[in-house]
Symmetry: C2
Subunit: 148 residues, 2 copies
DNA sequence: GTAGCTGAGTTCGAAAAACGAACGCAAGGG
DNA sequence: CCCTTGCGTTCGTTTTTCGAACTCAGCTAC
């Protein structure tokens, strides 16, 4: 009764952290942002056990991060998992991970994929900024105030 | 030999995702960014089992996200866990989670804490931008290219 | 119609991870 | 000394995860 309690705390950081902090969930989202949509493809590319995959997909469906969308293949109706608006809005989280990974975990080898801005071809970077003055912020620039 | 393999893939997204995607790790980082530094405080505030806490702290030490820093208390030497530069640079990841949480999971109740820019008092927001033109990017603005 | 194939799960026994209460231990303090 | 405190470690139990086999629905071919 402990890990789960973070998922229901009135804290806008602990709730997402508890949801995405469950094993496989971040890697599953990565795969989805890379274009995977079908149960079988998740299972084979990630080597996750089928039962856990079922569970994680269901949690993300319940949370409204994913939706099941019917489509036709070989004349039969199947379903694929796609991001909702809420799910697509997790992009900054994944990009923040990648930006950090590039800076601090970059292996000598090449990347497995590249990202660039469709319009201008530039690179992609996550950052934190002030909603008022627009300055880029680090942890040290931010004051934490507990609510009374 | 499966979840662990993501931690050693030559991919700057899968490696951080595997590291932070282990249960408790994101919540532990949240607690650290909120100022907790000592074993006992993590254990009591998070209700995590002591053995798992030991393990997670050790992994973060090994990865260079945390460091053990000696300090004096009541005339005796103790150690506390503090963020390294590498660890502090995870701030955008946490802020991206929080930005998402505020938009999509905000409970009716109040937040448990507030964040604001020390210099101007403004709010804090994570975003993704183009390194060339500076435009704010969503998943749809970004092209994924697999490496040959 | 029936045998086979395929994608998408479900089931279930074994292995791994997490839990939590008790124990160990070093460094003061009384 | 004996007590307390902070920080782990141990260990038996419970919960998750694993992975191989099974199910099932909807076609396709015969």
């Amino acid at each position: 009764m402990s890990y789960a309690s973070f998922a229901s705390m009135p804290c806008t950081l602990s709730r997402p952290a508890a949801l995405l902090g469950e094993r496989w969930t971040l890697l599953l989202l990565r795969q989805i942002f890379l274009g995977t949509r079908r149960f079988e493809d998740f299972q084979t590319t990630m080597e996750i056990s089928r039962s856990v995959l079922t569970d994680r997909l269901n949690v993300l469906l319940q949370e409204g991060v994913l939706k099941r969308v019917p489509y036709q293949e070989d004349g039969r109706t199947r379903h694929e998992y796609r991001l909702t608006d809420k799910g697509r809005d997790l992009y900054p989280v994944l990009m923040a991970l990648r930006t950090w990974g590039e800076r601090w975990m970059a292996p000598e080898e090449e990347e497995s994929f590249h990202l660039h801005h469709r319009d201008c071809g530039g690179g992609v970077r996550a950052k934190v900024e002030c909603t008022d003055c627009g300055a880029e912020l680090t942890a040290r620039d931010v004051q934490v105030t507990a609510r009374s």
